[in-house]
């Protein structure tokens, strides 16, 4: 998995499914592979391209083992709603984080780009999400990000709010602190996933 050999991984999983191997055991192995991928990214050996390929292999494997996981009552790590805030149509960072979260065992509901606060709230309620991820690239949409956080907080939902995107990755560090009410910030996709994992682990 961590070496991104898609053919070998898919063949091995297919054989495992055919031979009745424990789907939860397979899932743990896949998650272990994703952990190694994340570590190689942190070490500078891998880039976002490798992370995207790893997340894709994970998704294909999940398609194979999901029916068995559901039958055995194995649940996801947590539910995440993710989207780019109103006024911003950029989606690269959001897509990468969504793929990595899926690859780490989260159920991800991507609502797309240019989304008003109400749609985030609606989706969080609909899927009973644990975490919401808000992305924006443009400085001009920081106000929209702030409003989205505020509307989610005012809705009374019990949810962790993660913010990220190009606007926070350069320049003045205080940009992040301009978004009051957010619970955390992911500098890159791996940090975002680690933060999500911490939050769901800490949830009683």
């Amino acid at each position: 998995m961590a070496d991104l050999n898609e053919e070998v991984v898919l063949k091995t999983i297919a054989e495992g499914v055919k031979n009745g191997e424990s789907s939860s055991g397979v899932l743990e192995e896949l998650r272990g592979g994703m952990e190694i991928l994340g570590q190689r990214f942190a070490d500078g050996e891998y880039s976002l391209a490798e992370l995207m390929m790893g997340a894709e292999i994970f998704r294909e494997c999940m398609d194979m083992i999901e029916p068995s996981l559901e039958k055995n009552g194995v649940s996801t790590r947590g539910r995440v709603v993710i989207g780019t805030v109103k006024g911003d149509v950029h989606d690269l960072g959001k897509n990468i984080v969504a793929a990595m979260l899926r690859g780490s065992g989260f159920e991800v509901h991507d609502i797309g780009v240019d989304k008003p606060p109400e749609q985030f709230v609606e989706k969080i309620r609909e899927v009973d999400a644990d975490i919401v991820g808000l992305s924006c690239l443009l400085t001009s949409t920081l106000g929209s990000m702030r409003k989205t956080v505020s509307v989610i907080r005012e809705s009374g939902l019990d949810i962790k709010i993660m913010i990220g995107g190009g606007v926070f990755s350069r320049g003045i560090e205080s940009t992040v602190t301009r978004i009051e009410g957010a619970d955390g910030f992911g500098k890159d996709a791996v940090e975002a996933v680690n933060l999500a994992k911490e939050w769901v682990t800490a949830t009683p």
């Binding site: 880039s47 995207m52 894709e56 897509n95 003045i172």
Partner: protein, 370 residues
């Protein structure tokens, strides 16, 4: 301090990695200039002459700088030359925000074969035709000849060089924009030979495209965007395989043909900086943003390549003139006055305040003297 160099001489001295009378200043002013002047973003996007006029108004009011970007061409250029669906202010978007592109992909995996068989122009013609528009060498020529008078105006009447003629986008960078970064990332592993064949089949035409466009407007600066080959997006293995060999040839050819490549490198290039030592010495500009360690860049590339940057967009939108002045002062202290062009990093946000943009120029003229 009195100026002893013209803007062109000042820029050239920096490209030569030497110390001019003061650090040259180059700004990429875009839609913010329209908003300062009360013009709609739609007009800035659709009418190059009007866009040039508001940039000129800002240029005069601020007191001038040494190199202007051709942002007045941007809306028309993108609408005609890019296959992605454009979203026009006042039409598809509110009238006070810049043009955007739909993120819907234009290129499929099968289109690598189009690139292999028909080349770079052929690929773009095909993809643009699918959007119901026409693109070929003739339409490109008409478009750039239409821009040429504005270039001449800036050069001859205003006495300031326009620092972008055409654009040479290396193939793998183009594929990530046309097909999305996510899909091309998977292609590196699923169909590496096909991607590489398409890269090798198209890169020479990429050079021609940048050179032709630059000749048509009479400007010798060629913009070469490479952000999606940064260490953020490519591991060193992928960088070597799909990007660097042909990129190096592109830059060598542009230099050989008398052009100055503006290598535009957003994202984090710190781990790859040593590769720029393999490019022609004192012939290129390397444009960085704060994700790359500019001090390390200077240490590695000082005397070899002129650095350009990097006042970040969030300071221009959210900071104060004092924040801008501090940033510029520190940047000049860190990087030195040789082989450096002071500039804003990447695109200027449309909500950049006039006072903050003016502060870049004021600070450059205060701290940049040799």
């Amino acid at each position: 301090m009195s100026e002893t160099f013209s803007p062109r001489e000042r820029l050239q001295k920096a490209i030569d990695c030497q110390t001019p009378d003061r650090v040259p200043i180059a700004l990429r002013v875009e839609y913010s200039a329209a908003l300062w002047a009360g013009m709609s973003c739609r007009d800035f996007c659709c009418y190059p002459h009007k866009a040039s006029d508001v940039i000129e108004a800002a240029f005069d009011k601020i007191g001038g700088w040494d190199g202007v970007d051709n942002t007045w061409t941007q809306g028309v250029r993108f609408t005609h030359l890019e296959p992605q669906k454009p979203m026009i202010p006042g039409v598809d978007l509110p009238d006070d925000v810049p043009m955007e592109f739909s993120s819907e992909p234009s290129m499929t995996a099968d289109d690598y074969d189009v690139a292999i068989k028909q080349g770079y122009y052929g690929l773009y013609s095909e993809l643009i035709a699918r959007r119901g528009r026409k693109f070929n060498r003739r339409t490109e020529e008409e478009l750039f000849l239409g821009f040429a008078p504005i270039y001449r105006y800036w050069e001859e009447k205003k006495g300031v060089p326009v620092i972008r003629g055409g654009m040479t986008r290396p193939p793998v960078i183009a594929f990530t924009l046309l097909r999305t970064f996510e899909e091309v990332s998977k292609d590196y592993f699923r169909r590496p030979d096909k991607v590489l064949e398409a890269v090798n089949a198209t890169y020479k035409e990429c050079i021609q495209m940048g050179e032709t466009q630059s000749r048509l407007v009479g400007c010798n600066y060629v913009f070469v965007p490479i952000s999606r080959a940064a260490s953020t997006f490519m591991s060193e293995r992928l960088f070597h395989k799909f990007f660097f060999p042909t990129f190096k040839e592109i830059i060598e050819q542009l230099v050989k043909d008398g052009f100055t490549p503006r290598i535009h490198a957003d994202a984090d290039w710190t781990p790859f900086l040593q590769y720029f030592l393999e490019l022609p010495k004192r012939k290129c500009i390397l444009e960085l943003e704060p994700m790359t360690d500019m001090v390390k860049a200077k240490k590695i590339l000082g005397g070899h390549m002129c650095l350009f940057g990097d006042v970040p967009p969030d300071i221009l939108s959210l900071g104060t003139p004092t924040d801008v002045e501090s940033y510029v002062k520190k940047r000049i202290e860190d990087v030195g006055k040789d082989g450096f062009i002071l500039a804003n990093d990447d695109m200027m946000p449309h909500d950049a305040s006039y006072e903050n943009v003016k502060a870049i120029v004021d600070a450059g003229k205060k701290y940049g003297w040799s």
